[in-house]
């Protein structure tokens, strides 16, 4: 049996999908605000390692999401959409993103939430900056593609594929390790 893309659930059409996108966004934005992730102080607090709210949100989302999605994949309900990467792309692009993350104090998702929260540095500064930055990337893309993006290319491989093992041998230990780490964080009073 094909375990991928064998979606028994009929996915709605493009028009409905746009409305669904809006609904998913509203729920995501609502949750980001409830978590405090729309705030510069909380995000910088995380990067300064003083307030671990952001990592608690992200890691509990990863454990929950991973268990559910790998289960649904085993049942043939969903497939995966791993992004392809390379060292030139994921590592160097990631580091540049990280510098911008600390200077701005928001990321593309949380800045949208920050705008909804009324934060004007996000709207008048950060948003314009991101639009300039992405436009600049589009302009430089052909050169970047040749120079760095393909360096150390590994494609859209997942960790279980890389290690050639059953995904559950990674999913279960990783879920336990992350949960253990979060308990340890709490025990430290962080």
């Amino acid at each position: 049996m094909n375990s991928e893309g064998n979606n028994t659930f009929r996915s709605p059409g493009p028009g409905t999908q746009k409305i669904l996108g809006l609904v998913f966004g509203i729920l995501f934005g609502f949750l980001l605000h409830k978590g405090g992730a729309t705030k510069y102080d909380v995000i910088l607090g995380q990067l300064l390692l003083r307030d671990h709210t952001v990592i608690k949100i992200m890691l509990s989302a990863v454990v929950t999401g991973m268990l559910g999605i790998y289960l649904m994949r085993s049942l043939g309900w969903v497939r995966l959409y791993p992004k392809s990467g390379s060292l030139g792309k994921s590592l160097f692009g990631g580091l540049v993103f990280g510098v911008g993350f600390a200077v701005l104090g928001y990321c593309p998702g949380t800045i949208s939430g920050a705008i909804g929260n009324g934060y004007l540095d996000a709207l008048a500064g950060g948003l314009i900056g991101i639009l300039i930055g992405t436009g600049l990337f589009a302009a430089l893309y052909p050169g970047m593609k040749k120079a760095v993006l393909k360096k150390g290319d590994f494609g859209d491989v997942t960790l279980p594929e890389l290690l050639k093992i059953n995904p559950w041998f990674i999913v279960i230990p990783l879920a336990i390790a992350i949960t253990g780490f979060l308990f340890w964080l709490e025990k430290q009073g962080w």
Partner: protein, 177 residues
Amino acid sequence: MNFLLEARWSPYVVGIAIGVLSWLSFLISRKPIACSTSFARTSGMIERIFRGEKVEAKAYYREIGISIDWQWMLVIGIIIGAAVSALISGDFHWQWVPHLWAAAFGTDAVTRVIVALLGGILLGFGARWAGGCTSGHGISGTLQLALSSWIAAISFFAGGIVTAHLIFQVLAGGGKP
């Protein structure tokens, strides 16, 4: 339903709910939650207003397409959802300068906006360079166990933690929390 009016929830409740939301987006929309491509599309749409249809011929925009799609609507939804949560919990307020920034660098709005603009340029450029952001790689990609996303997410935080310490410990002259 009083919990909906609270300004903050436990980060674990929020994280688990985002995880469940990701199940639904895979199942119903067959898409992982992600944001940064929509900013690139918006940038392309704005450029198209000034420079016309030829913008669509740029290699990068040919790859991602500059139209309003599921993810673009998701980003609009985030603004609305955060505004609703902030408004009903009494946490909505117009603010130019965040407290932590003000404590280290003062309350001048112009300085903060210029720094935010520069940070945004790096963030936007880096997001497209890495092919994703804190949601697309950091949550949706890592939960799929994609190698690209684990490398990107670790790099986001490595770059962010070092830079944040440089800004607040070195530039701000070792300012205490």
